[in-house]
Symmetry: C2
Subunit: 241 residues, 2 copies
């Protein structure tokens, strides 16, 4: 399956290449390219931090220049934090992920470039990109390292393709039926009646409604209604009965 | 401003506490709580990896138990990857961020708990949470470390509050007017006419439309139209003229 290419431009530390590979594989990305890694390639410092993502390192391809690394790509994002005085569209990771999914669906081959740890992307490299990718960040701090930038981009790409629902209720089956719930309400009410819980006939209606509403809203399962009926029964019992 | 509390439950390595602090501050979160950190607190290993986020470490509060750490909170998320056989709603980081913003706007105090590096949250701790927070991840790999989990949760919270538009066009002002664009088209056409570019009268219409369309779609600024007119003028010149 076609997926975005992750390109590390002149990365300095092998351990950061390993961390980037781990970040990628967590979110299903496996196509890593390295442009002129400072300490050569392979780099023995990369394996340990890759933590099981060695397959990404093994498949990594090395290029001398950015031009070579992006030659077969058709839309390239350059990850930068600085404004470059270079007219270029700017996208968030979320938007870039949306665009990359659209590009891939249309048969295109997108890539995301990340610059060296210390200096970031050079202006000449950014000029080759279609779109700048900038992570919105705390303007008073902003200290995102290479692997963190890679994980946020990879994460967003995976999220949009993921079929995991954003929210899954506590009980995917087995929610109590309304009959079970009303049975619980009536059980509470008769037990409370016997204990003199209702101060007056006038307040009974309000007190019952309040209790019914909180029991209704709690979202109990059938099993939980049975648990609570056991609790009411036990509390209702004369001690030692 | 009220913000989500980040709670590290029984964290093992000081350097991971520092990385978590850095991840938080990148996205504007500063309220860190530690439950029974294995190596005590303060921990000299935390500072170096916090990389300037020392203020988060300095303000961190330490508790003996999860119950104490969440005592003043009203909605607690437990970050886990494993299914617990415990009926509990499950939210993605995106959904949890949405919920937390809604809770804070309603005057509530949400928190997100993260378990120890090796084992993750205990079932007893998860039972105290309102909602399980699970990052959708590559089912064939899934190796998210503590600081990565913290950065993804913090990132999502910040993104929803960020006013950065998802997409900013290349030219926020200074896009070429249609008059300038048509001037460029006509300049190309007259220069090409003189060079015999149009093979036949019949194909002229199609060739001109193709060129006009690509110039139209390129999204040039006024400045870029001027640059291109200089380029056409120069190419049109008799060599050495």
């Amino acid at each position: 399956m076609v997926q975005p290419v992750i390109i590390l431009v002149r990365p300095q530390l092998g351990e950061n290449i390993g961390k980037a590979a781990r970040a990628m594989l967590n979110f299903g990305l496996t196509e890593l390219r390295l442009v002129a890694p400072r300490d050569g390639w392979p780099n023995p410092d990369a394996g340990p931090t890759a933590a099981g993502a060695g397959i990404v390192l093994d498949k990594a391809r090395v290029y001398d220049t950015v031009e070579d690394a992006i030659a077969d790509c058709t839309h390239v994002f350059a990850t930068t934090v600085r404004n470059r005085d270079m007219p270029k569209p700017v996208a968030t990771p979320f938007e870039a992920a949306n665009q990359m999914r659209g590009l891939i669906a249309a048969g295109e081959k997108p890539a995301v470039m990340f610059g060296p740890e210390r200096s970031g992307m050079s202006n000449d490299d950014v000029a080759l990109a279609d779109t700048v990718l900038t992570v919105p960040i705390n303007p008073e701090y902003g200290s995102l390292n290479l692997a963190q930038a890679v994980i946020l981009v990879s994460y967003e790409y995976f999220q949009g393709a993921s079929e995991t629902p954003a929210y899954q209720p506590a009980h995917t089956d087995g929610l109590a039926s309304k009959k079970e719930l009303v049975g619980l309400m009536e059980h509470f009410e008769s037990a409370l009646e016997a204990k003199g819980f209702y101060r007056s006939e006038g307040r009974r209606v309000t007190q019952q409604r309040t209790l019914r509403n909180l029991l209704q809203n709690a979202g109990f399962s059938s099993q939980e209604v049975m648990t609570l009926r056991g609790v009411v029964k036990s509390l209702d019992r004369v001690r030692g009965e």
